[in-house]
Amino acid sequence: MSTKITAHKEEAHYIYEAPVRLWHWVNAFAIVALCITGYLIGKPFPSVQGEASDHYIMGYVRWIHFASAYILMVGFAGRVYWAFVGNKHARQIFLPPIHKLGFWQGVVHELLWYAFIVPEPKKYEGHNPLAALIMYFVFLWGMVFMILTGLALYGEGTGMDSWQFDYFSSWIIPLFGQSQDVHTWHRLVMWILICFAITHIYAALREDIMSRQSLIGTMISGWRTFKDSRKDD
């Protein structure tokens, strides 16, 4: 439950607990590292000359990819755990209330705000409904997809009888047809996550400036402050 305290004159709400904040930034850096190294796995650097034993470029690129992948997966597991034990905002991106009309009205209102049709957005303690919706459908399922396909590809390297192969490669690769298609989809969904990140960072910056509430500071300190004390209608 969110703790309400009154700091200064305006209300501040404690929204994102420390584990969520820590996860957010670790995860963001892991994804950046994964996108860069992943891109380079499919389209490697220009060839180098000399003895093969003097270089390990592809080896390092792949190593960074796999190390970041494990950081991302452990972080994700921790984030899922926190959704159970954390405050109600820790559950928001896992369970958007898509069965409630009010939620969709909120989504429409937010879209109209982005389309410059309504003059101001509403105030939200947690994510706005549009953000929650996109985080659920694009980010969350994108992550699950990348983790599953990533482990399936990883299992090909560790080989039969490794847990990655037995639990992931053995059914995911036949599901896609063959390994090549798993690579292709792993790469396509990377681009979806990149599109998400562009939109997300732009929206975070814009709302930080233009909305009625704090944004980036909230993901750093955990506290949400509002720039006005008017009630939403």
């Binding site: 891109y39 499919g42 389209k43 490697p44 650097f45 220009p46 060839s47 180098v48 000359q49 093969a52 034993s53 003097d54 270089h55 390990y56 470029i57 592809m58 080896g59 690129v61 982005y114 410059f116 090909e156 390297g157 080989g159 039969m160 053995s170 059914w171 690769i173 036949p174 047809g177 063959q178 390994s179 090549q180 298609d181 690579h183 292709t184 790469r187 396509l188 990377m190 681009w191 979806i192 990149i194 599109c195 562009i198 939109t199 732009y202 814009r206 400036i209 233009m210």
Partner: protein, 358 residues
């Protein structure tokens, strides 16, 4: 009394010495220790021969061609003597009605006890009219024999996955064996490749015939002993891959130095086969050793993934043919552009509002 394998071989003029040599070879090919050679010999001396019917659907006969070029002439002689007696329309002596009679005879004599080896696949459109054997659609012959077989071997990528005749848009609806509707539910062993490696083919047959059981299969039905690793896992050019040394073009310095073929489209990292360890033509070479990227011929749908010389595959649909980076890069550019325009519009609005407020 049925003849044993050994008796059949002797009748074919194979000496005892050659026979024992073959048993050691077979043990080695199957990855078994030398102590297994006498076991194989014993099995072949005592067990009745299991007949093999070898059918041909839509195919190019490259599987048979590969098979009869098995590295060791002995292996091929032995195996051929074991199976050619029954039915294989490419290499058997009988023809026409006489040949077709053999199928019926085998079914009657060995019901539920013979191996059905299938090279090629049946086209299903127009009731199977695109492949006629002895006046009837091949699919009928396949279903009929499968009904009575003990197990089925799907030779090559045609029988295993569909291969070129099933490539997009697959006008005849060529269908791999395990997807033929109404086919009797028999164990199917896939031995994909276009063609499969001859040593792999002979070893699979030897294994089944001598041990009277099927080799362990992976989740896609391929014998684990030959298809559990990718070309990339065993490729001798792998150190160049890890180092980041690639052939950028076929006539560059890297190509002469034998660098990794990844950038000219090598599918070794996504292809399960034994080429890199067994090699071809008696261990002489394999495509990568000859300087050509692996085209992934033993993988499902390898014809439909775009150029053999590109690392990234084409994605079909959306009415376009493009790879993941072309699609994703365009999407990211559109999203980024939209964000920039939106940012500009937002700034304009804010300035206008500030103007109003003042």
């Amino acid at each position: 009394m049925h003849e044993t394998f050994y008796e059949v071989m002797r009748r074919q003029g194979i000496t005892r010495r050659s026979f024992l040599k073959y048993c050691s070879l077979a043990a080695a090919a199957l990855g078994l220790g030398p102590s297994f050679a006498p076991k194989i010999a014993h099995a072949m001396e005592t067990k009745p021969r299991i007949p093999v019917l070898w059918l041909h659907g839509l195919e190019c006969t490259c599987c048979s061609e590969s098979f009869i070029r098995s590295a060791h002439p002995l292996a091929k002689d032995v195996i051929l003597s074991m199976i050619s007696l029954d039915y294989d329309d490419t290499i058997m002596a009988a023809a026409g009605d006489q040949a077709e009679a053999i199928i019926q005879e085998t079914i009657e004599k060995y019901d539920g006890n013979f191996i059905l080896a299938v090279e090629g696949n049946p086209p299903l459109n127009e009731d199977g009219m695109y492949c006629i054997i002895n006046g009837k659609p091949f699919v009928e012959q396949l279903k009929h024999t499968a009904e009575h077989a003990k197990a089925i071997i799907s030779w090559g990528s045609c029988a295993s996955w569909g291969c070129v005749q099933a490539a997009r848009p697959n006008p005849t609806r060529a269908t791999p064996v395990h997807k033929v509707p109404g086919l009797a539910n028999k164990p199917i062993i896939k031995v994909p490749g276009c063609p499969p490696i001859s040593e792999v083919m002979t070893a699979v047959i030897t294994y089944i015939l001598t041990f009277e059981k099927l080799p362990a299969l992976d989740s896609q039905g391929r014998p684990k002993m030959f298809y559990s690793q990718r070309i990339h896992d065993k490729c001798y050019r792998r150190p160049h891959f890890d180092a980041g040394q690639f052939v950028e073009e076929f006539d560059d310095e890297g190509a002469r130095k034998g660098y990794c073929l990844y950038k000219v489209g090598c599918k070794g990292p996504t292809t399960y086969n034994a080429c890199a360890s067994t090699r071809w033509n008696g261990g002489l070479s394999f495509p990568i050793q000859a300087g050509h990227p692996c085209i992934g011929c033993s993988e499902d749908g390898f014809w439909d993934k775009g150029s053999f010389y590109e690392r990234l595959s084409n994605v079909h649909g959306f009415g376009i043919e493009a790879d993941a980076d072309e699609i994703g890069g365009t999407a990211a550019a559109v999203v980024g552009g939209a964000a920039a325009i939106h940012a500009a519009a937002s700034t304009v609005k804010r300035i206008a509002q500030k103007g109003d407020d003042a």
